[in-house]
């Protein structure tokens, strides 16, 4: 009885991702990381381009891990709301704090 239930519970949490998906996601993550580091060594790349491409790439990595490895993509909307809501507030507060301390990443900073 308890076992039957346990098996049922595992299916509920398992989602639709397969091992193959996981491996593919990991490969993509590795490639993006390599590209990120490589971007750093592109000669003469403008600062705003470097910063914005790095931010976009890390955001993609972030959401790949959250979406697939933490299977939030497949999970209940309540769980998504519990995480994404606070995440948005946290990011908004970081941006507000940076504005208040005039610490914008995209602007070249005086030395």
């Amino acid at each position: 009885m308890a076992d039957q239930h346990a098996v049922a519970a595992t299916h509920e949490g398992g989602g639709h991702a397969t091992v193959r998906t996981y491996v593919n996601v990991a490969i993509v993550l590795a490639i993006i990381t390599a590209v990120e580091v490589a971007t750093l060594y592109v000669p003469g790349i403008p600062n705003f381009l470097l910063v914005s491409s790095l931010l976009v790439m890390s955001a993609i990595k972030f959401f790949l891990v959250v979406g697939f490895f933490m299977h939030l993509r497949y999970d209940h909307p309540i769980l998504r709301a519990l995480f994404v809501g606070p995440l948005i507030i946290a990011i908004a507060i970081i941006i507000a704090v940076m504005a208040l301390f005039s610490a914008f990443l995209l602007l070249p900073r005086p030395h």
Binding site: I89, A92, I93, V97, A99
Partner: protein, 621 residues
């Protein structure tokens, strides 16, 4: 499962002896008992904070008074603020969360009963740790918002700030654990049929509060960690000499501090939203709008923090943005006040003590709100900041608001919790004395502030024109103290010879009134099915449009009750809280104590987690 003792009706767990009773309270995981523990502790700390306030008022009654020194006065206002916020109003709200939320959503306990006990014991250890500073003559003296760099070791070399910083850190852990617990409880433990919009408004306001708790406390946790590193490990976060920005603390503190304001007021708003419909015998006017307003307040609460900092010179853009956001947040608050008044309009009102307190809440909170909107304008704020005008404002919202609302809740739910009704006559004495005393104390402070009296001064010269109103204010403070004596007398009398309440003394509307007072350990013999926000009312009276009262359910059988399983008591929460206190207080004493306490904490966390892992096989059901 072995960890879940079957509840047998009428069975007594070893609570016959005195020590058996003590043990059962120390190991309890019952949300109702934990609620009582929270409420009792909070009331005691409320009295402690009140005594601190009285000493300050006596000192300020006359000019050039010498009752306390300037240093002692610093300690008094710091501890008064910290105590009232973290040890009185928050845990008093937590008492209602604990006792009432599971009852109002038709659950048998919270989602994590042992975690709930852990939250309480951590709270108590933090509260005792903070107050133990008095015994060492090292009471915190940096103000309740402890602005760095005043609090760095350069300017506060003694352990005073350590007590405050570490005490707050401990209390923060407790609040956040409780926050996770109630979030999950409210989302996941509602009785079948209780959709989010059918949830009682008190539960809704508590729900918003839990979000604020778990999202606001990390900011102060970080601010305190940085302070701790500055004080103990020589980092430079708050050292302007090394290029640090003195505003960093202020921003981090108020990112927490403003949501904290709503953490203090939303539960009281929820209580009032329950009391008014009950005594007006009418559904809450525009209940969904009240709920949406609460959500809006909670959300905007994260975007207004810098209005506490207009005087530091953030520049016109930041000032304007935070000013506009602050004025916006007044809108949902005003909507709520309108809805409360709308609830009373045309109702068949019965004046009972809880309703008096709820009405007092609306009137006083509105006044506090009005002076609050004034501060939203930076030029006006520059005149008022750090003056007694601000002191008057936040006491109108925190005392006139939160405390009146919470006392309303105490009178309202006392019969449910203790099975006996508090005395109406003493209750009204309490209300009117507190109402008059409160206004006599704090209304003159508006005027004192406008004629220039700064907050946090320990005395003043006789020729400034402040003498008369300060004396009046002190007299008012003693009236409040007398009103509390009436409350204590009321409780004492009710315990000895109160009127038996029965299940539903107020002819109320929500689920908790459908079960006996005090409720049995398992709350609901049969988990209710909910069809409406005022489900219990409709069950009793029909919908008022010709719909008949719902048929009474069949009686609960003994077999049903015997099949209820409740979680077993556990002593790991208490031990774990103690180990954490040993670890954190070690920062002031010796690193060895931190390491020993830390290892002990880890070990006890392991035991705590393993207690419910694989209880004896084969005993399943």
């Amino acid at each position: 499962m072995a960890t879940q003792a079957a509840f047998m009706p009428g069975s007594k767990v070893a609570t016959e002896t005195f020590w058996g009773t003590v043990w059962s309270w120390l190991t309890t995981v019952d949300h109702k008992r934990i609620g009582i523990l929270y409420g009792t502790s909070a009331f005691i700390f409320f009295l402690v904070g009140g005594i601190e306030a009285l000493i300050m008022r006596v000192q300020l009654a006359r000019p050039d008074n010498t009752l306390v020194s300037a240093e002692r006065f610093n300690e008094l206002f710091t501890m008064h603020g910290t105590t009232m916020i973290f040890l009185a109003v928050m845990p008093l709200s937590a008492a209602f969360f604990n006792y009432m939320i599971p009852l109002m959503i038709g659950a048998r306990d919270v989602a994590f009963p042992r975690l709930n006990a852990l939250s309480y014991w951590i709270f108590l250890s933090g509260a005792l740790f903070l107050n133990s500073s008095w015994l060492f003559g090292l009471a915190p003296d940096g103000g309740w918002f402890g602005y760095a760099n005043l609090t760095t070791s350069q300017f506060s070399p003694r352990h005073t700030i350590d007590f405050w910083m570490l005490g707050l850190q401990i209390l923060g852990v407790s609040s956040m654990l409780a926050g996770f617990n109630f979030l999950v409880t409210i989302i996941n433990m509602r009785a079948p049929g209780m959709t989010l919009m059918r949830m009682p408004v008190f539960v809704w306001m508590s729900f918003v509060t839990q979000f604020l708790l778990v999202l606001a406390f990390p900011a102060i946790t970080v601010a305190l960690i940085l302070l701790m590193f500055d004080r103990f490990f020589g980092t430079l976060f708050y050292a302007p000499a090394a290029g640090a920005d003195p505003l960093l603390w202020q921003h981090l503190f108020w990112i927490f501090g403003h949501p904290e304001v709503y953490i203090l007021i939303l539960p009281a708003m929820g209580i009032v939203s329950e009391v008014l419909p009950t005594f007006a015998r009418k559904p809450l006017f525009g209940a969904p709008v009240v709920i949406y307003s609460g959500i809006t307040i909670g959300f905007f609460g994260f975007g207004v923090w810098s209005h506490h900092m207009f005087s530091v010179g953030m520049g016109p853009v930041a000032d304007s943005a935070f000013s506009i956001a602050t004025m916006l947040i007044a809108v949902p608050t005003g909507v709520k006040i309108l809805n409360w008044i709308g609830t009373l309009w045309g109702g068949s009102i019965r004046f009972r003590t809880p309703l008096y307190f709820a009405l007092g809440f609306i009137a006083m909170f509105t006044m506090g709100g009005l002076s609050g909107v004034m501060h939203a304008s930076p030029p006006v704020d520059l005149q008022q900041t750090d003056s007694y005008f601000v002191v008057a404002h936040f006491h109108y919202v925190l005392f006139g608001g939160s405390i009146f609302g919470l006392f309303g809740g105490i009178y309202y739910w006392w019969p449910k919790i203790n099975g006996k009704l508090l005395d109406e006559r003493l209750g009204l004495w309490h209300f009117w004395l507190m109402m008059i005393g409160f206004n006599v104390t704090f209304f003159p402070q508006h005027y004192l502030g406008l004629i220039g009296m700064p907050r946090r001064i320990y005395t003043y010269a006789p020729d400034l024109g402040w003498n008369f109103w300060n004396m009046i204010s002190t007299i008012g403070a003693f009236l409040i103290a007398v009103s509390l004596l009436f409350f204590i007398a009321n409780v004492w009398r009710t315990m000895r010879s109160g009127k038996i309440a029965g299940n539903d003394p107020w002819d109320a509307r929500t689920l908790e009134w459908a079960i006996p007072s005090p409720p049995p350990v398992y709350n609901f013999a049969r988990v209710p099915h909910v069809h409406d926000r005022d489900d219990f009312w409709l069950e009793k009276h029909g919908d008022g449009h010709g719909g008949a009262p719902r048929p009474k359910p069949t009686p609960v059988t003994a077999a049903e009750i015997a099949s209820i399983h409740m979680p077993s008591p556990s002593f790991w929460p208490l031990l774990l809280a103690l180990a954490m206190a040993v670890m954190i207080s070690g920062l002031m004493i010796s690193m060895y104590q931190v390491i020993v306490g830390g290892l002990l904490t880890l070990y006890l966390m392991y035991k705590f987690a393993m207690e419910l892992h694989r209880p004896a096989e084969g005993h399943g059901h």
